[in-house]
């Protein structure tokens, strides 16, 4: 268990700036998720923490000690690699047991630990196989098991669930959450799946082009996105973002007329989550009136998409909602609904 501190850390590949200068503190025992689209520098950041990638500038501290020049083996880290990094010439059991072997555990102790860990990731029956005889999801679980077979100072997990099927992913997510609760080991977790980020994280760092654009608790990231990028990245279905103008306390856009308490300005984007809209069947007052464009039943609710001119708005209605496509409907914000306003040019929250 340790606090991890990045101070003005920067990474360049030749002249290409992969991660621009920035600082980040990961608290002791925290579960920090790096969230962002593919290619935004999540893996690079993690590899710098692991010691696999040289840090171009800045300091990396683990547990209060500067570790820039420490080899990975002395950092007491366990890592799940995005592309597994298994040992192809070893069996699954040998793969999982290798970190223990390096630390001088005897065969008996190793076998017991390995069996127990394999059980957690549902690999119990495959211990004798080699990685080449496993599916992608199974390999990923071997990589995961190898990381959690011992208790390090720091866990680094690079999209550890990306290749599992939906059901197993939910199971493993719960397993990871429980493990973190049980061991309390500081964890840095990389994903591009916002659902994983929301469910697992103590805090989420949303990354874009190498830069952390917002660092906060999942709750705050969801309820108060700092900019358009975060607003559109978090939430499924994503937040409705409507381009319009504010004049005399009213936000207007095609089909939209909504009183807001903000100063007049043009070029503004209004954001509201589908969950915070109520469907009113008749043509009425409120946020938005449009023609029913699509209905998607998700099981516990129905996603309703309305369209008017260039404006498309989605709302979450009851599971029993039904109406013919093309019907005129209207949406009103629920009582206490949050309206988010962003500057269209800078993307920042206003």
């Amino acid at each position: 268990m340790a606090e991890v501190k990045l101070v003005d850390v920067e990474k360049r590949y030749g002249s290409f700036l992969a991660v621009p200068k920035q600082s980040l503190t990961i608290e002791e025992g925290e579960f920090l998720v790096l969230l962002g689209p593919s290619g935004c520098g999540k893996t690079t950041t993690m590899r710098m923490i692991a010691g696999l990638e040289e840090i171009t500038a800045g300091d990396l501290m683990i547990g209060g000690e500067r570790v820039n020049d420490k080899p990975p083996k002395d950092r007491d880290i366990a890592m799940v690699f995005q592309n597994y990094g298994l040992y192809p010439h070893m069996t699954v059991a040998e793969n999982i047991g290798y970190p223990l072997k390096l630390r001088g555990f005897n065969r008996q102790a190793r076998e017991a630990r390995v069996a127990e860990t394999a059980e957690k990731v549902e690999l119990g029956k495959l211990l004798k196989r080699r990685p080449s005889e496993l599916s992608g999801g199974q390999r990923q679980r071997v990589a995961l098991a190898r990381a959690i077979v011992r208790t390090p100072k720091l866990f680094l997990m690079d999209e550890p669930l990306s290749n599992l099927d939906a059901k197993l992913r939910v199971t493993m997510r719960a397993e990871l959450k429980h493990l973190h609760h049980e061991l309390g080991v500081t964890t840095v977790y990389v994903t591009h799946d916002q659902m994983e980020a929301m469910t697992l994280a103590s805090r989420v760092a949303v990354m874009r082009k190498g830069r952390i654009v917002q660092l906060d608790t999942p709750k705050m990231i969801y309820s108060e996105p700092a900019n358009l990028f975060v607003a559109s990245f978090i939430g499924s279905p994503p937040m409705n973002l409507i381009d319009g103008v504010i004049s005399q306390g009213t936000f207007t856009a095609p089909g939209v007329n909504l009183p807001v308490s903000a100063a007049d300005r043009g070029n503004v984007v209004l954001g509201i989550r589908p969950e915070e809209l109520d469907l009113v069947p008749a043509d009425g007052e409120g946020l938005f009136s449009g023609l029913l464009y699509a209905l998607e039943l998700t099981g516990e609710s129905t996603l309703v998409t309305l369209r008017e001119g260039t404006t498309v708005v989605c709302a979450r209605g009851g599971a029993d909602f039904d109406a013919p496509i093309g019907t005129r409907c209207a949406l009103v914000p629920k009582a206490g609904a949050r309206l988010h306003l962003f500057d269209k040019d800078s993307g920042e929250r206003v």
Binding site: L52, K73, A78, Y84, G85, L86, Y87, P88, E133, G136
Partner: protein, 271 residues
């Protein structure tokens, strides 16, 4: 039609080349079991005998000593060259050091120097050191010849291994040496084996340096062959028997290489 023609053409050409290559070897094997008077006939009708082998192992030929010399020199060379070359090849493959390319070229360039050019300096050097006609001299010379070649060969194999598994091992707590021992070498095993055998064959067959640097005590098998050219003429039957002794180990190794060559070890490391 054209295809069939090509197919047969290809086979015929292969057969022809095989015959040209294999005929002398076949001839040698047959001669090794012939009596002196049958040696010059091409006839397959002769009474085979093992007397040639008995003769070459007894006085004055004493092939046994040469076998010991050859095995010692080749085995020691391999045992030193392959581990050293493996470490060098790993470093060349993995570490981005300044001047790396130039250094690698320098090592390779030693292979382009014809042996005859440097044989005299070697002779003088070993004479000064008092190492003429010793196995140590031969081992040193062979190391100089073989190591660059093995480095170059192993680097190719190590380059082809993805670094993911190594990085995982580094994180899991292994030192560089441990990574090389536990991860790289097992994954490069077919390459290491191939390099080992090539290295052995090169040393085993080395002739020129052994001829110049040895006289009586450290004579190796290829040089020993020359002694069958006597004032009484060339003793073909004895020379062939000795030739068989030289070739058989190489044949066995070639078979071993073939078996291991096809087995890929990197499958399954990544998705």
């Amino acid at each position: 039609m054209k295809r069939i023609f090509l197919w047969w053409g290809e086979r015929a050409l292969l057969l022809l080349v095989s015959c040209i290559v294999l005929f002398p070897i076949l001839w040698m094997f047959l001669t090794a079991f012939k009596r002196p008077r049958d040696a010059y006939s091409i006839s397959l009708h002769f009474k085979p005998t093992l007397s040639n082998f008995v003769t070459v192992f007894s006085d004055p030929w004493n092939l046994g000593e040469m076998v010991v010399n050859s095995v010692t020199v080749a085995a020691t060379t391999v045992l030193i060259a392959v581990p050293c070359a493996a470490l060098a090849a790993y470093s060349f493959s993995r570490f981005r050091v300044r001047g790396r390319k130039f250094l690698f070229f320098l090592i390779l360039s030693t292979q382009f120097i014809p042996a005859v050019v440097i044989i005299l300096p070697f002779f003088l050097m070993f004479r000064t050191l008092g190492l003429l006609d010793t196995r140590i001299a031969l081992i040193v010379v062979n190391l100089a010849i073989v190591t660059p070649f093995v480095i170059w060969m192993l680097k190719g194999f190590i380059d082809a291994i993805p670094t993911d598994s190594e990085e995982a091992a580094l994180i899991d707590g292994a030192s560089r040496f441990r990574v090389i021992r536990d991860i790289v070498l097992p994954m490069a095993a077919p390459g290491v084996l191939t390099a080992t055998i090539f290295c052995f064959i090169l040393t085993w067959n080395e002739f020129l340096f052994a001829l110049i640097l040895t006289r009586r005590n450290a004579v190796t098998l290829p040089v020993g062959l020359v002694s069958f050219r006597t004032e009484q003429g060339d003793l073909w039957n004895l020379m062939s028997a000795a030739g068989v002794m030289i070739t058989v180990p190489i044949f066995i190794m070639a078979l071993l290489i073939q078996k291991h060559f096809t087995r890929g070890m990197t499958a399954g490391a990544v998705k």
